[in-house]
Amino acid sequence: MGAVAAATGRHRRRRLRYAAEGRGVLATLLISPAVLFIAALVGVPFGLAIYLSFTDATAGSLSGKWVGLDNFTGAVHDAIFRGALWHTFLFTLISQAVVIVVAGLLAHALVHGFRGRWFLRFLVLLPWAAPVALTAIGFLWFYDPQASIFNWFLVHLHIVSANNVPNWLGTPKAAMSSIITVQAWRTVPFATVIFLAGVSSIPQEVDDAAAIDGATGLHKFWYVSLPLLLPIAIVAVLFGVVFTATDMVVPYILTNGGPFNSTQVLTTYAFQTGINAGNIGEGAAIALFMLPFLAVVVIGMLFFARRAEVA
């Protein structure tokens, strides 16, 4: 009796082990914990965000009443919100346009070996490696109305006069340019790194063939390097777009949406409405307006990921 039970037990164990050796079963075992964790901590709150945006939930009351589309129509009729939408667009578009140009130049310049390259690359990487919440505070000091180091340079290069220096964060136009500058400054290194990977993956033979055909400078860049670079470069740019459109740190620390809401973006406005004012439902609705930005990026990524693979 005991022997039979032991035998079936052994048999079952062996069958289990055999099953676990199967590729599908093993893969499922390895992947599912991560998928479940992500579903619980991204999927559930994401659904909750959508639910809350249809309620009048506040920080005080546990569960809000269903209010339908009120939060969304309320947002659309709110001038500050419309401004925030527009500023998010500008903030993203201009900073990332600057990043593409600078990172493209830097990647082409850094691809060949030269003396001091390691150190120069280290300097270029600094803004990316340093925690951005901290460096943004640094810019609060660089933009200080009384002691701005940028103004010191501008005055000593005789670009502006000493008694009429710009107040970088205190006037609407200057404030917008200031936060765009900081965002561009901190995204350039990442884009450079990814572009650099793209440029270095262009085989030497392609370069040589182009040279033999007499292609130089801009011509070579436009007809040879750019098409080869495009898929990976676009992935880098889409990353920059997502992390800029959905970023809160730089505007929050430098201007917190001011002066007069002139630098209010979706994220800072959602934070002020949802956390500071406690209107969680309205805040969630405002944050959801980031979805179109995300959708564009996701579709772009999927499209170019497939193209990059086919190529």
């Binding site: 590729r23 992947i31 609060l140 990977a197 990976i232 959905t246």
Partner: protein, 274 residues
């Protein structure tokens, strides 16, 4: 030709490197200035350097506490991330066909769902259901939601560079699949895993939105939230102290980034966009 390309390189890189790094140079200068002189227009560049700001930071603020909190959260998040992401990244790299690829891309896309979209619902979950308001555990629980997808993506890239033949050889030699994983695959991918550890840790050091939403008392703050909220006395900023506070974690991080950059690129671009 060679000198022309070198001239192009220096001509582009030197000015841009100077521009990108200048803020750090000016932070260093300010951090060495006596606090009373930061607004003095005659002392912009010439002054008697002092380490007073660093002393202030260590002895009169909670800076070391925030640093400790950040490291503590960082270490725990790294452990959780590896436990979930290493098996998943490996399986996704080896899982051939459309399902594996689609799943890999789907997990990666969740990394793009921003904290600024999730912090409002999560703040309710943290306070009402988990009762973790103002505790570091709130961050330990929530941070893996973005570090795991990021780590899976990098690890997929690394594991794809390890030839399948190596594992097959181990299987022929009588290793189980799991044994091949532990004895062959993990040792070879150790540098890749180390890269994931470093970049996961730095994601934690960077996180701001959740930390400022979930944590309310000074003693529980992490570095990126403690410095902007607590180093300001009333309306008075101690600028040399703040500059020192920024530089101290930034420089070592940048050095480590530089060391692991090539591996980061391999993992990042090797996932599926290739």
């Amino acid at each position: 030709m060679a000198w022309r390309s070198r001239a192009f390189s220096y001509g582009v890189v030197v000015p841009f490197a100077a521009l990108l790094a200048f803020p750090f140079a000016w932070m260093a200068v300010t951090s060495l200035k006596p606090e009373a002189q930061v607004y003095d227009p005659t002392k912009v560049w010439s002054f008697h350097p002092t380490l007073a700001a660093y002393g202030f930071l260590f002895h009169h603020t909670d800076y070391l506490l925030w640093l400790r909190n950040s490291c503590l959260v960082g270490l725990m998040v790294v452990v959780i991330t590896l436990a979930f992401a290493v098996p998943a990244g490996y399986a996704l790299a080896r899982l051939a066909g459309r399902i594996g690829r689609a799943l890999g891309v789907a997990i990666f896309l969740t990394y793009l769902v921003p904290p600024t979209l999730l912090f409002l619902p999560l703040s309710r979950v943290i306070s009402q259901y988990l009762h973790l308001s103002d505790r570091l555990w709130a961050l330990v629980v929530v941070y893996p939601s973005f570090t795991i997808p990021f780590a899976i993506w990098l690890l997929m890239g690394f594991f794809k560079t390890i030839p399948q033949e190596l594992e097959d050889a181990a299987l022929v030699d009588g290793c189980s699949r799991f044994g091949a994983l532990v004895r062959i695959v993990f040792p070879i991918s150790a540098p890749g895993i180390l890269t994931v550890v470093i970049f996961t840790f730095s994601l934690v050091l960077n996180e701001f939105v959740y930390a400022i939403t979930f944590i309310s008392s000074s003693a529980n703050r992490t570095l990126p939230v403690g410095v902007p909220t607590d180093l300001i006395r009333g309306d008075l900023f101690n600028w040399p102290g703040i500059m020192a506070a920024i530089l101290l974690p930034s420089i070592p991080l940048a050095l480590v980034y530089n060391l692991f950059l090539n591996r980061f690129i391999t993992g990042f671009t090797g996932g599926a966009f290739r």
